[in-house]
Symmetry: C2
Subunit: 313 residues, 2 copies
Amino acid sequence: MTTPSLPMTVSMPGMPERVTIYEVGPRDGLQNEKTVVPVATKAEFVRRLLAAGLDTVELTSFVPQKWVPQLGDAEELLDLLGESGTGQRRPVLVPNERGLDRALEKGVSAIAIFGSATESFAQANLNRSVAESVEMFAPVVKRALDAGTWVRAYVSMCFGDPWEGPVPVTQVVDVCSRLMDLGCDQLSIGDTIGVGTAGHVLRLLDALEEAGIGTDQVGVHFHDTYGQALTNTLTALQRGVSVVDASTGGLGGCPYARSATGNLATEDLVWALDGLGIEHGADLQALVETSTWMAEQLGRPAPSRVVRALAGG
Amino acid sequence: MTTPSLPMTVSMPGMPERVTIYEVGPRDGLQNEKTVVPVATKAEFVRRLLAAGLDTVELTSFVPQKWVPQLGDAEELLDLLGESGTGQRRPVLVPNERGLDRALEKGVSAIAIFGSATESFAQANLNRSVAESVEMFAPVVKRALDAGTWVRAYVSMCFGDPWEGPVPVTQVVDVCSRLMDLGCDQLSIGDTIGVGTAGHVLRLLDALEEAGIGTDQVGVHFHDTYGQALTNTLTALQRGVSVVDASTGGLGGCPYARSATGNLATEDLVWALDGLGIEHGADLQALVETSTWMAEQLGRPAPSRVVRALAGG
């Protein structure tokens, strides 16, 4: 029996020619892992991801260490990365103006802010209402744009919320519009607890477009808690989206969701894109080797099915 | 925090109104588990699946016990099931005429045969060539049809083969045509090692239709080895297929694939169908409870993401 071959490439109508993989493993992935990874290991992780050809890698978060001990070493990480950690395709998360100050001091030129579509999660995660959080983000975005920095707005809980249940599409569009009105360059719609299905994805993308936020401004961020992440992603691609958030190995997940399964695994996405003949620039085998190595650092197997299949043999 | 609510229902253009879930857990699932489950437990498993509202349940295989010790109790199982184990929506697998004789003696009125799209797997699984296996199946199908029995033809390795790599679509269509020409009522196209992607699924369905095998005669059977099972399934549904093979809890898998992940989990499929507002008749919570119970019998957690999310809390 030979090694399973990569998927046969057969294109499909309506798909984009190229997809930008927005890798969230070092930030969203490691933030939600129990283990606090040493900064040298994080730098090695990022270097391996870049060597594997990933387009955009979100590096870390300039969040207070007491909030997220897993990412308390943002400055040290950027120092270790040097040149490879700079540029508009190396965003960092900033929670507030203090975080922006820290990021700008380190020469960062792309940031992401992290809003919520629901009041419950805004209170839980940001300790303020949705309106107050938009108010908090306004000067962050303005100052970042003035400094020539690229800005992404994450919106979490766009499909369901663990306290509120299903989230109305109009409510999501309202929050997205308020954040994009600040001047953000890109929106990332997040199904933080993974409950959404394909028709719901289309309805939200339609509603965003009606509100003036076209698919060229939107990235999608799906979690695999209920097994829907890849299906929802490909549905969004057929609807015109071409930026996809994914986490190498499937690292991370939402601490408020009830399952260990987290982000869409980059390798499972790459398998699908390779099969569909969609360009993305990443090398599957290098990603699998990186996930296998990272799983050793974390002391647990990677959730990605592709990694388990290809690394297990 | 509340219990995660079921997905919000939002329909999607081009989907069927109703899907027939063809449950393969008791046969394909248990056949590929290491543990040999007692026959009383199997009967209880089937009863629970039927009570959960599943449409069609493949019960067992009339295969020699020395080939598949896990299913060496087909007669006893049907005895225990009584009335609930009969009818055209309770198929059993038969490998040859001897298996058919045993099935007919027990009053079975639906059977499935199991062919291969590749010579390598035909030799490995059936110990004969593809042509010889079609020859072997011919009298099985004829005698079954003469007895008023419904007949399904599985074709395995329709997308990739562990020895031969990618399998040409023309080769798959040729084998499918030869089996359907015997008079079978339904075809099940299997991605036994889980390598296929969405465009490949569409190309095969197009090619089958050109050869006179319409989507109304086709069921799809995907494995989640590389994370593509649900995506490929929904792609087939949009192309007109309305019969989907799935295994409650994600039980089973192909012993020739390199990963532990096996069949599409019925619960993950049901989550997607519920989200899309597609009728199927099954109750998600009852399926999750059944998988949780079955996982205890097998001494290992269910691979289904929905089960892990809903049963873990």
